[in-house]
Symmetry: C2
Subunit: 317 residues, 2 copies
């Protein structure tokens, strides 16, 4: 469930006008901006962008980019875009702004988003960057990690409740044979994890646990070959995303806020992309695991307008 | 351009009635069936199926399957289905009814069909078979061929006229370096051929010819490793499909009808899938290359109702 609190009936023109006012003159009234856009859903934000464009012949997204700065600006930018454009931006940053792609983001979109949502993200990506997600991932990665990520993002997975118990058993055995002989690069692992439907894969992973007494993610830790590190981490991330998305997101946020500092990019990504989906459930999982609320953790690890904005998206009035 | 000759205004109910009559009593009036469905486009066939169902509470496709037989039945079955269902059937047969997938068919759909058409075929495939194209291809192939085919069918290619001349040059060099050192399994080959947009890839292949004096398909013949045979044939097929679809289809038909016999499956596939698209151009290319018309070749290599039906689709009254 969504965490944001928004009024049912709003006036896009009045909202656009209030944002315009907050941007004019010396300085910017960030609090006013948060109080509006932090309390609007995707449809309402779209109408505000349209109203702003009509009233002031100016792109609201660009205006906010120029008015705001730092992590706060990045978060607002991702929040004000329509969801699929935002996803395209996040994916592009993940693929291109690092030495190797931030495979976590690629995996999230490939495994947690529905095939139709993933397709919509790919379309938005092409419209924005004039290249395909597939060619960019392929270009910026290598070896087993590349093969795995390209297969993962390329598969238009079957969505349906049909599940083949025979396949679940035999593929659990195939996975176990490969892993127990330390044949971690076995292409069957890539095939099974990257192409099977979520329903089928969950059944296979359950059979694996039943027959071999432990989850496959534990067994994937047994590899000590440094060259396989990223690939195996990607495999484990994928299995987590497929098995339990909320638990996965909780872990992302937990790792992003620790004693060593805060990875704002990850915090922003989870909160902005899940606020209108399942952030409520993620908050519950977070509290259970950490005995501290996510709101409290955010309060401790962030500051200023950025903090105020995240807390608003988390459902604080 | 299309080759079929069809009247603009037809009555789906009258067509359904005439087909029903042709199916009733002793024997079947195949000529009557050909004279109707061989002269109807996709929309008209759809309306006939609907009218038949309404009038007789019976599925026309199933009725025709039970009335007809042999290659004629197979051709009619593929023709009477709606195009994306037909493609799903052809793809499924290509993937599952052989020891290894008939990669030619997979490559045709991946490279000659537009990304949107390929997506529609994937949807029809899932609706019909309750599995994804990707998982079936992955399951029924292995090694480099698998990696290549899964990448190819999975890529939602960018379609646009943008082309990066720098990339065309550098990737022509990458391809040539791999091929000249006989590193045919180099993963960069798979990446470039399976993920780049058609526009970009054609430019790269042209640069290759400019710089290295010969087409890449020729150079791919230099490998003598038997284990690579299918994979390299698939690579060459892909390059042909991307470079010149009509020339590719001409070759498929030419190889399918020779002294050793006739590969009716391939002949049917090309004629049925291209009749409403570019079969006219394929006929022209065929005549140029063979100095005999495609109609004449079909007349020589096929017989009976199957022959009559193919000739009708080829535009004979």
């Amino acid at each position: 469930m969504s965490t944001i609190i928004y009024p049912e009936n709003t006036s896009p023109a009045a909202d656009a006008e209030a944002i315009r006012k907050a941007c004019q003159g010396w300085g910017t009234d960030e609090k006013a901006i948060i109080s509006i856009i932090g309390h609007r859903n995707a449809t309402q934000k779209k109408l505000i962008r349209q109203a702003y464009e009509e009233l002031y012949c100016e792109d609201l997204v660009k205006r906010l980019e120029s008015e705001l700065s730092g992590q706060f600006e990045k978060a607002v930018y991702r929040w004000i875009l329509n969801p699929r454009d935002r996803d395209a931006v996040i994916l592009h940053v993940a693929i291109k702004e690092r030495a190797i792609p931030n495979y976590r983001v690629v995996i999230e979109y490939s495994c947690i988003y529905s095939p139709e949502e993933l397709l919509a993200v790919k379309r938005a990506y092409q419209a924005r960057y004039k290249t395909s997600v597939e060619e960019d991932i392929a270009q910026y990665s290598t070896g087993h990690l590349r093969q795995f990520l390209v297969g993962l993002v390329g598969t238009y997975r079957y969505v349906g409740d049909e599940l083949n118990a025979r396949v679940a058993n035999s593929e659990a055995d195939i996975l176990h044979n490969a892993i127990s002989t330390k044949d971690f690069n076995n292409e069957e692992i890539v095939r099974i994890i990257s192409t099977r439907s979520t329903t089928q894969l969950v059944a296979t992973l359950n059979r694996y646990k039943d027959h071999y007494g432990s989850s496959i993610t534990k067994h994937l830790l047994d590899d000590t070959n440094e060259g396989n590190k990223e690939y195996l981490l990607a495999l484990r991330t994928t299995i987590r995303c497929i098995s339990d998305p909320q638990k996965y997101y909780e872990k992302v946020i937990r790792y992003a806020m620790n004693e060593c500092g805060t990875d704002e990019e990850s915090v922003t990504r989870v909160i902005v992309t899940r606020a209108e989906k399942d952030l409520k459930e993620i908050k519950e999982v977070y509290y259970k695991r950490n005995s501290v609320t996510l709101d409290q953790a955010i309060t401790n690890h962030t500051s200023g307008n950025y903090k105020a904005f995240l807390l608003t998206l988390l459902g604080n009035e």
